[in-house]
């Protein structure tokens, strides 16, 4: 049986991620105007943000598909992509050039969402395999 909490969480994650992406991009632009943000520090931050957005789309799609078709392979792949997203999220939380308080809040929420999702995915895979 498909896991309903996982489905809800994936949907909410998708919506939240759009807000998160726009807010982080706006804050990077704000930081580049207000603080001294040379180009070789701006480039890695922007690259990480865009890479994370790029990974998020297949991750969510695979999660939806795996959960609804009760197949473990897409869910497993989604779990792997989640691990990558977690690393990038931690970078934006700790190793960004300027970490604002708003950055901390957004990334903490996203990280907790990822953690909860991973736990639900593991239980779903366990349910589908058996």
């Amino acid at each position: 049986l498909s896991s309903l909490p996982l489905q809800i969480l994936l949907y909410v994650n998708g919506v939240y991620y759009i807000f998160y992406f726009l807010a982080t991009l706006a804050m990077i632009i704000y930081k580049s105007q207000v603080f001294s943000y040379p180009d070789d520090f701006l480039a890695p931050d922007l690259a990480v943000l865009f890479l994370m957005a790029f990974l998020e789309v297949p991750r969510l799609y695979l999660g939806f598909k795996g959960n609804l078709t009760e197949a473990e392979a897409p869910l497993g792949l989604s779990l792997g992509l989640t691990a990558g997203s977690v690393v990038l999220c931690v970078y934006l939380l700790l190793w960004q050039t300027y970490v604002l308080r708003a950055d901390v809040l957004l990334n903490a929420v996203l990280l907790s969402a990822y953690g909860l999702e991973s736990a639900l995915k593991v239980t779903a895979i366990a349910a589908f395999v058996s």
Partner: protein, 488 residues
């Protein structure tokens, strides 16, 4: 309270307060943690240089020369490479295009810019001042010299100023020597008859002769901004042994080809305070075959300006030597004199004399509507309307008795023309009104004094400005024709 960068989320702050209750009052020092409530405060940075100012480079034996080049002069610009040396980097495709200059653009020569040495920070000459196109300048500066090194100082020789050729149009314009004036030690100047011989400085009898004391550049250009001719007039002089410095003066003036070098009264609108330009049509030229105005050479030439009577100290009209004052744009003037009439004066010659006194020897017929109107442009010149008004309203006695002019009033109506942000003054209408009065015959022996006045009034008849607004953008929404498929 004393704290660091206020953008940080948490920072240590030192709080100093005064405890007035203790005796004697003591200063209390506390170290607190101040929290910034903003959501956009900096929680952490991984970029250590963000929070501190950049420390300047400490000179070491290795970088000293480089730092001295960059910062050693009296001034240093933010872009040191935009100038002098790097002409090879300029794209060679420019050589085929016509070289058009805009107002203020530096006049370029093959190696750098046309130099007009001028004082920069102090009175010492700096050779790095470029001449701007159409910017007439005159500068004076001091150069340090010594008689022994007279032939090695470049700025004292004529070659330095005419060596480079100006980049203009397809070819280059060489600077020709227009005239050479030699100034002796006691200040007497002589114009040399031959100006094609190059006279270089040399030491003679303990003096350094042929040293350049002044250069006057005359550049001729077309109305599209291309330079076609350049000439330089030199003043050469001698430097004595004791002199440690000499004063050099430089001037540059731009003239448009085929026009007389009349100083403009505005470009194009009249500038307040500059003389109103006027002229008259010479005899024999039929209208509207074109105008040519006589003798428009110098600004002090009375033939090219509108003038009014200038009051003298004696205030006697008949004794006035014909002193006239030029009418300056925007300045209302009034002047006059007193006329002493005796019984023996005849009417007609008196009336004619007064007319000459009021109007002057050559009263113009036309006034330029713009400050830079050329004589060839017929439509740019406004005719002066002449009116005659009689003071007495009695019409019957007008013809028989004697009418003498007593006042001349020139009313110049001008309007603002052009854009709202940069309106130009343009003369629209000029009316010269002569008021006459009857001269009653005096019993013999008696005298009368009547005042004669002339005035100039400038009236602004600009219509109120109507700003033009951009049209509202039209929203053009059209749905594709099969939008409501399959319902339609």
């Amino acid at each position: 309270i004393c704290r660091g960068d206020s953008q940080l989320c948490r920072q240590k702050a030192a709080v100093y307060s005064l405890d007035v209750e203790a005796n004697p009052p003591e200063r209390i020092f506390k170290l607190i943690d101040q929290v910034n409530p903003s959501i956009f405060c900096i929680h952490a940075t991984n970029y250590k240089q963000a929070l501190y100012l950049k420390s300047p480079e400490i000179p070491t034996p290795e970088n000293f020369d480089r730092l001295l080049d960059k910062f050693g002069g009296a001034t240093f610009s933010a872009e040191p490479d935009s100038w002098n040396l790097d002409m090879d980097a300029q794209n060679p495709s420019d050589a085929n295009e016509t070289y058009r200059y805009e107002y203020g653009a530096p006049v370029q020569t093959e190696d750098a810019f046309l130099r007009l040495p001028s004082p920069v920070v102090s009175s010492w000459c700096s050779d790095a001042n470029p001449a701007g196109f159409l910017v007439n300048q005159a500068t004076k500066c001091i150069r340090s010299v010594s008689v022994e090194k007279c032939d090695s100082i470049q700025a004292l020789s004529m070659l330095f100023y005419i060596n480079s050729s100006i980049l203009a149009s397809v070819f280059q314009v060489n600077i020709t020597v227009q005239s050479i004036v030699v100034q002796s030690l006691n200040g007497m100047r002589t114009l040399l008859s031959r100006s094609d011989v190059l006279r270089l400085p040399m030491v003679l009898d303990g003096l350094c002769i042929n040293a350049v004391l002044g250069v006057n550049y005359h550049i001729t250009h077309t109305d599209t901004g291309e330079i076609i001719e350049a000439a330089a007039a030199f003043v050469l002089g001698a430097i004595s042994k004791e002199a440690l410095s000499i004063e050099q003066s430089f001037e540059i003036s731009f003239t448009q080809k085929n026009t007389q070098p009349v100083p403009l009264s505005g470009n194009p609108g009249y500038v307040v305070g500059l003389p109103v330009r006027a002229g008259s049509r010479p005899q024999g030229y039929p209208f509207p075959a074109g105008f040519l105005f006589a003798a428009l050479a110098l600004s002090s030439n009375k033939h090219s300006q509108l003038t009014i009577l200038q009051s003298t100290s004696t205030q006697d009209c008949l004794a006035a030597q014909g002193a006239r004052a030029p009418v300056l744009f925007g300045y209302n003037m009034i002047s006059g004199c007193k006329l002493r009439i005796t019984a023996a004066m005849k009417c007609q010659p008196l009336a004619q004399t007064l007319l000459d006194v009021l109007k002057g020897q050559s009263f113009p017929e036309y006034v330029a509507s713009f400050g830079n109107s050329q004589a060839q442009d017929v439509l740019d010149w406004v005719p002066i309307t002449q009116l005659h008004i009689s003071e007495q309203m009695m019409s019957i006695t007008l013809q028989s008795s004697c009418q003498i002019p007593v006042s001349l009033g020139i009313e110049v109506k001008w309007a603002k023309y052009g854009s709202l942000v940069n309106p130009q003054a343009r003369i629209v209408n000029v009316t010269a009104t002569i008021t006459t009065t009857t001269l009653k015959q005096l019993p013999s022996g008696k005298e009368r004094i009547i005042p004669i006045t002339s005035s100039v009034v400038f009236t602004d008849i600009s219509s109120p400005a109507e700003p033009a607004y951009k049209a509202w953008p039209t929203i053009n929404i059209k749905l594709p024709f099969d939008f409501f498929y399959p319902f339609v």
